[in-house]
């Protein structure tokens, strides 16, 4: 690599009490290392390796994966992914510890953004799309293994024995005679060595930590109330801000200059482009005042035309218009033309809110050096850019402190709350924490857009699905217009062997903001597809399980998951006349999940009760079994909540819901029995955060059809069944 320089030259010349070894993997796969002063983590001393080109490391390279081993035996693992409940701050460190043969007790997880200026050029990626483990698995293994290699090399030199005779465990090298040298004692010597780019990795069956449950690193803090979420980040003396947005999407506040408050705790009333904010010494005061000020918002007349009914009509009409051909296999048109009976069904799903239990919030301090912002975010780089732009600062002047997230679900990818907080802090010139009240969090969400779907199919004389067409219509969550691949996610790669397919997406802009909602396209498209597959099975007079399996003959891994779900859920085995069973499948994120729902419907009240969800999942290699199980359980319940209850409606341009009494989400008393069967696999690890969400709604709808013969094609199902009955 052409940087065989004296690594020690780059140690700071100040009196260093000890040395630390950094090993990093760049996003182009090179392993690099250097020695540094083991200064404190926050003084920036360990973080400058990407800006000193003469440090032997390439400038501006993205170093997402790196660890630091101190002579005092602590192993710091830089964490570039947000922890929002998925256990990633446990799973990823364990991958390093596994290959490094570190003791779990010596691991310390540090969020990259908390390490001085290191984050500036590292391109902190988003935490999204269920890819944290799958994208980090190999780099984290290689960093751990490469660090272990130089430590072993240093031990071999110290003992003058062959490196292959040295074994490692629990953070130390062992001589064949039993002598021990801890990693910390080897840091100084190892830092002079060049780590290998292609270190020897363990085979999966050598794993000692991966695949075996370890304690979650953050649980002790959580149960004691010490875990720091964004909302807990306000420093002593900070002011608090509450916000009130215009009630309609394009409203602007008109009379802020005339507004005042007699409350002595109020410090300022701030006009924002689409809202007002009140700053006070207490959030409670700020919220009360902002909600009662006689603010006038001016909105274009067109805002008043916005309603759920208008949106639904538009999305259904959109199905008739030309769209983007997403996928064409064979010749659906000919198959449909030759058939006497093309079955067509229309589906619809409404706008949805995320409602993470921690509403969006951000704490901002602006001084002569730049801006510090503490917030729960899935996208620190977006925040950095947005803040720099808003405050008129250079990127380097924006220090993003990414906290734990009290739920993300895609909401905390967006930067609207960060921008508002910066605008308020600029206006008052003091440190401010902005919290969106639950009402604002719901009304001004970035919603899962409403979508319509029209699915058509033909069953041939052998009872096979000979042709399949799906058209959907809705907004782009990426803001890509018609070319957003996520709009067709869940339709564009069906796992089934269907020779003739045509998948079309019709783009229709939403009048309210759209955003990423856990499982994104699957949240509507898997409902459409897996409901319609079930319709086709019934049309062919075939069992829905057998019908699916007959289209999975070339996909044994998928078919196995479907069979195991059916077995776990005792598909067709219990003849309880009050229980219907439905099946659905989802294949994405490198994972496979099938679920059987056991459902009853009260004859009088039409109350839908989901009694049991039985899910089988193959997500490849499992890092933490309980963590995977938790993500599946949580994903199923997230899907269940939306399937049964959730709906955002609009009237005259305003969102009608504002809190849990009118945007009901699932309570524990309605949670079904959940069974999860996880495959033992040595395939590469896949994602599990989202895969369970999409298939729940169709599994329930399919069960209701089996039980009462009514096909529900609109979510939420509890509302639909009462309207349709």
């Amino acid at each position: 690599m052409g940087h065989e320089l004296d690594r020690r030259r780059f140690l700071k010349t100040t009196a260093a009490s000890s040395v630390a070894l950094i090993v990093a993997c760049s996003d182009d796969g090179q392993i690099e290392s250097r020695a540094i002063d083991a200064g404190s983590l926050d003084d920036g001393s360990l973080v400058d390796m990407d800006v000193q080109t003469d440090g032997g490391l390439t400038a501006n390279r993205t170093l997402q994966t790196w660890i630091r081993i101190d002579e005092e035996e602590t192993i710091h693992i830089a964490m570039h992914k947000a922890e929002m409940g998925q256990g990633i701050h446990t799973a990823l460190p364990l991958i390093v510890a596994e290959e490094l043969d570190a003791a779990v007790s010596q691991i310390k997880v540090t969020v990259v953004g908390e390490m001085g200026d290191y984050n500036l050029r590292t391109g902190l990626p988003m935490t999204s799309a269920s890819n944290s483990v799958s994208s980090s698995f190999q780099p984290f293994r290689r960093v751990g293994a490469s660090a272990k290699h130089v430590l072993k090399q240093a031990a071999a030199a110290r003992w003058n024995v062959d490196i292959d005779l040295i074994t490692t465990r629990d953070g130390a090298c062992y001589h064949p005679n039993g002598d021990r040298l801890s990693y910390g004692a080897l840091v100084d010597a190892a830092s002079l060595l060049q780590p290998p780019d292609e270190p020897q990795l363990k085979s999966f069956d050598e794993f000692r930590l991966i695949g075996k449950d370890q304690a979650r690193f953050i649980d002790a803090e959580i149960v004691d109330g010490r875990a720091v979420f964004g909302i807990d980040s306000a420093p002593d003396g900070a002011l608090y801000a509450a916000i009130r947005h215009a009630p309609t999407p394009n409203g602007v506040p008109m009379n802020v200059d005339t507004l005042s408050s007699s409350n002595a705790d109020v410090r300022s009333i701030v006009a924002l482009p689409n809202a007002i904010a009140v700053v006070a010494s207490s959030f409670w005061t700020a919220k009360n005042v902002v909600e009662t000020l006689p603010v006038e918002f001016l909105a274009p007349d067109s805002d008043r035309e916005i309603s759920s009914a208008a949106i639904e009509s538009q999305l259904i009409a959109g199905l008739q218009t030309d769209g983007n051909e997403i996928l064409t296999l064979g010749d659906v048109t000919s198959v449909f033309a030759a058939s006497g009976s093309v079955q067509t069904s229309d589906y619809f799903v409404p706008h949805l809110a995320h409602v993470p239990l921690e509403p969006v919030n951000a704490t901002v301090r602006i001084d002569e050096t730049g801006c510090d912002i503490w917030l729960p975010t899935q996208a620190p780089t977006y925040v950095q850019r947005a803040v720099a732009e808003t405050a008129g600062l250079e990127l380097e002047q924006v220090r993003v402190h990414a906290t734990l997230l009290g739920g993300g679900f895609g909401r905390k990818v967006d930067t609207d709350y960060a921008i508002a907080a910066v605008q308020i802090a600029q206006s008052v010139g003091e440190t401010v924490q902005l919290i969106w009240s639950r009402e604002e969090d719901i009304r001004r969400d970035r919603f899962r857009p409403a979508f319509s779907g029209r699915l058509s199919g033909v069953i041939d004389e052998e009872g096979r699905l000979a042709g399949f067409e799906a058209i959907n219509c809705g907004d782009s969550v990426l803001g890509f217009g018609a070319g957003d691949p996520l709009s067709a996610q869940g339709l564009n790669a069906l796992p089934y062997e269907i020779a003739n397919q045509r998948i079309v997406h019709v783009y229709q802009d939403s009048p309210i903001e759209s955003g990423f909602w856990r499982s994104i396209g699957h949240s509507q498209n898997t409902f459409f597809a897996e409901s319609f597959i079930d319709e086709m099975a019934h049309h062919a007079s075939r069992d829905p399980l057998e019908f699916r399996l007959s289209m999975l003959t070339q996909s044994p891994r998928i078919a196995d998951v479907v069979r195991r779900a059916a077995e776990l859920g005792r598909w067709g085995q219990d003849n309880n006349p009050n229980i219907g069973q439905g099946l659905a499948l989802c294949v994405d994120y490198g994972s496979i999940l099938a679920v059987v729902a056991d459902v009853s419907v009260d004859g009088d009240t039409k109350e839908i009760r989901v009694h049991k969800l039985s899910a089988a999942v193959d997500c490849g290699l499992v890092i933490q079994p309980t963590g995977v199980r938790a993500q599946i359980e949580g994903g199923l319940l997230f899907g269940l909540s939306a399937a049964l209850f959730e709906e955002i409606t609009l009237e005259a341009g305003s969102v009608q819901q504002s809190n849990f009494f009118d945007y009901p989400v699932l309570y524990g008393r309605d949670a079904p029995d959940i069974q999860v069967d996880i495959s033992i696999s040595q395939e590469p690890p896949g994602g599990v955060g989202e895969i369970a969400v999409g298939p729940v709604a169709p599994a329930i709808a399919n069960a209701i059809h089996q039980l009462v013969g009514i096909r529900l094609r609109r979510l939420p199902l509890q509302t639909t069944i009462r309207q349709d009955s």
């Binding site: 409940g85 239990l357 849990f660 989400v665 008393r669």
Partner: protein, 153 residues
């Protein structure tokens, strides 16, 4: 002026009588374990004990705790509190963890009742929201602690 005993410490605070306990704890006493989730008493993320009784701190004015004892998650360190916290860790109940302090406070209140007064199972009597969907494990944790205490589930 309001006088309360918070986690064993006597405190006198100069705040408006109607300021909710939640915001007094978070803003005036730097106790941030109780969380804001809805502000209307529906989600339970703010749950604390006032004289041993679980309350929704976001809708309970501080003057209702005057000369009373307030216990928050930070001060929940008696035998039952530790049983619950350890069970939460052992079963890995938490996902994001935001609601869990309130869940533990609610579970504590339920399990510390002298008599089991309701025929409903414990799982039906817990009324706190969890958006991550940890209910199955919450119910398991509460049920196991209840059994360990020699009570029913």
């Amino acid at each position: 002026m309001v006088s309360i005993t918070v986690n064993g410490q006597m405190r006198t605070i100069d705040v408006p009588d109607e300021k909710p306990i939640l915001w007094v704890l978070r803003e005036d006493l730097a106790l941030k374990g109780a969380k804001y989730g809805c502000g209307v008493g529906m989600c339970g993320a703010c749950t604390v004990l006032v004289d041993g009784q679980a309350l929704r701190a976001c809708v309970t004015p501080i003057n209702q705790a005057h000369e009373k004892t307030v216990t928050t998650i930070e001060g929940l360190d008696d035998e039952l509190g530790l049983l619950l916290k350890n069970k939460w860790k052992a079963l890995k109940v938490a996902q994001c963890g935001y609601c869990q302090t309130g869940q533990i406070m609610a579970a504590y209140s339920l399990l510390s009742e002298r008599e089991q007064t309701s025929p409903q199972p414990l799982s039906q009597r817990l009324n706190n929201l969890c958006r991550c969907g940890t209910y199955t494990r919450i119910h398991q944790a509460v049920s196991e602690v209840s059994l360990e205490m020699g009570r029913g589930d």
